[in-house]
């Protein structure tokens, strides 16, 4: 199995830390970002992989961050999964649904998360393999 490259964007430190600890336990590398700005920074530094994006964040929320990613041509090579505490999509995502591949409702079951990561990581590898040809 390919080592999935994952970035968690969440303003909640306890969540970042606990998810990081979980990923360490399964020996998967994970990058965390406390805000949209940090997320953009990682992308500019060359991160490509699965982005777990919290919707509700102060200053720049998840939707705004996605808009900025698209505007900065940083989307390609990434899969975005929204982490939401609200169980219904809201109207702030108007116009950017196509950039959101999946939703994960908080609190998420670690096994379900792993299953999801492995699925999208395989997908990403397949796309990369296609692009590489």
């Amino acid at each position: 199995m390919m080592d999935p490259k994952v970035m968690l964007v969440d303003d909640e430190e306890l969540i970042r830390e606990s998810v990081e600890m979980f990923f360490q336990s399964v020996e998967i590398g994970i990058l965390t970002a406390a805000s949209g700005e940090e997320c953009l920074g990682h992308l500019k530094e060359g991160f490509r992989g699965i982005i777990l994006m919290d919707v509700m964040m102060p200053d720049m929320n998840g939707w705004d961050t996605i808009r900025r990613i698209v505007e900065n041509d940083l989307y390609d090579g990434n899969i975005i999964v929204m982490l939401t505490a609200l169980d219904a999509p809201d109207n702030k995502m108007e116009g950017i649904q196509e950039y959101v591949t999946d939703y994960l409702t908080k609190p998420f079951d670690p096994d379900a998360l792993m299953e999801l990561l492995q699925y999208y990581s395989g997908l990403l590898n397949a796309i990369e393999a296609d692009d590489g040809q």
Binding site: I15, S18, V19, M21, F22, A85, P107
Partner: protein, 731 residues
């Protein structure tokens, strides 16, 4: 027509007066002339007699003198007759006086020498001289003189004869005088008086005639003017006017009547109705005329007549008799008033009112109409129903009778305040509005039907006739008591809704806030558990895991409930085969069914298709199955059936589990209801059936529970619309 009669009368009067005046004048003149004549004759006779007497007297005087001598001469200044000296000798004059009365004198020349005429001192007036016409006649013309003369202021009839001498020379005068006052004086006086009277009379009469003539001329002119004025007046009156004599013959008419009959006045005069109209009509006119003439006074009746232009008109005949000065009826005057237009207007008004009443009758609001005297003229069905008072009991009544059903007393309603100022109205009504002439008011009445409290909304507006004069008013009354109550309920519901929205927001917020701290728990508990070898500690962590999962479930359910409270939009509804929906739900629940050793039979007919929101239908079945599984005994069997009844499908989920207390049949659908209060089953948050109820209600269905009793199983049933059902969801 009195004027015309007057004119005729004055004409006659004038002529009579002229005649009378002339006659009396002639009579008086004749009488006076005759009297004067007679008097003159008598006077002449008397004068002749006197003259005869005078002549006789003179003759006698001559004879007496002749006896003394016939040779007259003057010798020595003395007159001698023969030898008889005359001067101072009074024998002869006295003799004459003795025989005839009167006076006698002998003049020598023009000097009285023998006389019985006495002077002022009572002495014989000897020595005085003859003067005047007698002197002239005798001495100048040599003629005898006869005439009247005043002697010493007394009128005398006198006779003077000249005395001539032998040569014919006038040497004296023989005179006799008869005193007129004796016999002729009264006659003379009478004649004088008569003449004077006659003169005066003639003068006065002439003056009177002149004045009268003038006055009559003036009167005649005035009459003429009045006559012309009256004729013009008559002709100006557009209504036909006629006058007839006592024999029903036309005496005259005005121009309008000429137009009505179609013949000129000249042709009309003297004709009878029978010469103008057909017998039947003429008979009727004659009948009416005669009845009026028999009972003089005024006669008014309506009729319809055909004008000369062949139009048929509705008219009123106004007829009255007129009489002459002695009071006897001379004829009649008639005016024909054309009331066709008025009748038409009346008819129009009547129709308009009828139309108004017809409209009012069927107005949904309680409505009544009053005339200008505030008497009820219309009382519609709605107000009959509202007040229980029927039309026949109130129409025609005034004195605020219409207020009784509302206030139990005679008092003004809104309709009686139409002419009040707005400020005054505000004092009487808390909520009143005026728009143009119309009043709107909301009234709370606690005396309706003797003590009921009602809230009315009333509107009143005045009615006007075509000329814009007030003609009454109309008032509509609407019972808004239930509307008011509904409004109060609505206000309450609105505040409840507001509260519910607030709660919803709070729930969403709470859900979100709970999910975030749960996330680390979910991430970390499995890691902790793996690192613990001690089974007791592991068990503790397991409990923590279960609790966290329970909290998550609660949050899920609560948020689900909030989401379900939103109204379904039509486009969310889809046609779903019921059997496959059940199948999917069973598949999702297969794990828990297996764990609990419960079997489920899907007995739904494949043909049934329902209209539902897919997610909600899935949630509904998931909850019902999970609920049934939980209360089923080991090896229990759950049966799901469906029955289609026209547009609705009744679905039943039956278990053979613990059953329900009849008291709980309803309350199991309440949020957080648990049959056993003390039991806090962490797996069953108690929201499952309330979610079911919410979903069913969202689909306009009904959900209920049936159970024969504790230990005898439970059946939850709900209805849902069949695919063809045409029910709106987004109202």
């Amino acid at each position: 027509m009195n004027g015309s009669t007057e004119v005729i009368r004055t004409h006659v009067m004038k002529n009579v007066m002229k005649y009378m005046l002339a006659s009396s004048f002639i009579a008086i003149l004749s009488i006076s002339a005759f009297a004067l004549c007679a008097l003159n004759q008598y006077h002449a006779h008397e004068v002749r007699d006197m003259h005869e007497k005078l002549e006789m007297c003179l003759k006698t005087f001559w004879q007496l003198l002749a006896h003394k001598g016939t040779d007259f001469r003057i010798v020595d200044g003395k007159l001698l007759a023969g030898n008889y000296p005359v001067n101072g000798n009074f024998e002869l004059p006295d003799k004459v006086q003795e025989i005839f009365g009167g006076v006698a004198t002998i003049f020598m020349g023009d000097e009285r020498v023998s006389t019985n005429v006495l002077n002022a001192e009572g002495k014989r007036a000897v020595g005085t001289r003859l003067v005047g016409p007698a002197y002239d006649a005798v001495f100048r013309e040599g003629k005898p003189y006869r005439g009247e003369a005043a002697i010493l202021g007394v009128p005398y009839l006198t006779a003077y004869d000249p005395i001539r001498d032998g040569r014919g020379k006038i040497i004296g005068v023989l005179f006799v005088g008869v005193k007129m006052s004796d016999s002729l004086a009264p006659l003379y006086l009478l004649k004088m008086q008569l003449t004077l009277t006659l003169f005066c009379m003639v003068t006065v009469f002439s003056a009177v005639i002149v004045l009268l003539g003038r006055a009559m001329k003036r009167a005649e002119d005035a009459n003429e003017n009045q006559f012309r004025f009256q004729e013009t007046l008559l002709n100006t009156i557009p209504s036909p006017i006629f006058f007839k004599d006592a024999g029903c013959r036309y005496l005259g008419c005005n121009k309008a009547f000429e137009a009505y009959v179609g013949i000129s006045r000249e042709e009309l005069i003297g004709k009878t109705p029978h010469e103008l109209w057909q017998k039947e009509l003429a008979d009727r006119y004659r009948q009416q005329d005669l009845s009026l003439l028999e009972n003089p006074g005024l006669q008014v009746y309506e009729s319809s007549v055909r004008y000369a232009d062949d139009t048929l008109r509705d008219v009123i005949f106004n007829k009255a008799t007129f009489s002459n000065s002695d009071g006897s009826t001379e004829g009649l005057v008639g005016v024909i008033i054309d009331i066709t237009e008025r009748k038409r207007a009346e008819e129009t008004t009547k129709n308009a009112y009828q139309q108004l009443f017809d409209i009012v009758e069927f107005l949904p609001d309680a409505t009544f109409v009053v005339d200008k005297d505030k008497r009820v003229i219309a009382w519609n069905r709605a107000i009959e129903q509202m007040t229980g008072i029927e039309k026949r009991d109130i129409v025609g009544k005034g004195d605020y009778a219409y207020a009784i059903p509302f206030y139990g007393e005679h008092r003004p309603l809104l309709i009686d305040l139409l002419d009040q100022e707005e400020e005054r109205l505000r004092r009487n009504y808390k909520d009143i509005r005026q728009e143009g002439h119309t009043l709107f008011a909301e009234v709370f009445v606690s005396t309706f039907h003797n003590g009921e409290s009602r809230c009315f909304w009333a509107t009143a507006t005045p009615l006007f006739d075509q000329e814009g004069n007030p003609a009454g008013g109309i008032e509509s009354i609407r019972d808004i008591t239930s509307y008011k109550q509904a409004e109060e309920r609505r206000t309450l519901l609105e505040s409840q809704l507001h509260h519910a929205r607030m709660m919803e927001t709070l729930m969403i917020r709470l859900g979100h806030d709970l999910r975030t701290p749960l996330t680390p728990l979910f991430a970390l508990f499995p890691l902790i558990r793996e690192r613990i070898a001690d089974p007791e500690l592991r068990r503790m962590v397991d409990i923590c895991c279960k609790s966290a999962a329970s909290v998550k479930k609660l949050v899920d359910r609560a948020q689900m409930l909030v989401r379900l409270s939103a109204t379904i939009r039509t486009e969310e509804l889809m046609c779903i085969p019921l059997v496959s929906a059940v199948e999917r739900a069973l598949a999702d629940s297969s794990d828990s069914m297996a764990q609990n050793h419960v079997a489920c039979r899907n007995e739904v007919a494949p043909s049934i298709v329902v209209r539902a929101v897919p997610d909600q239908l899935k949630e509904l079945f998931a909850n019902l199955i999970s609920n049934a599984v939980r209360f089923s005994p080991k090896n229990g069997v759950i049966r799901i059936t469906a029955e289609q009844l026209e547009e609705t499908v009744t679905v039943a989920v039956h278990d053979d589990g613990i059953g329900l207390d009849p008291d709980h049949l309803e309350s199991i659908f309440d949020e957080f209801f648990k049959a056993d209060e003390s039991r806090h089953d962490l797996d069953a948050p108690g929201l499952g059936l309330s979610i079911c109820k919410r979903i069913v209600l969202n689909h306009n269905g009904r959900i209920w529970a049936e159970s024969p009793g504790i230990g005898q199983g439970t059946t939850i049933k709900f209805t849902i619309n069949e695919k063809g059902a045409d029910r709106r969801y987004d109202m």
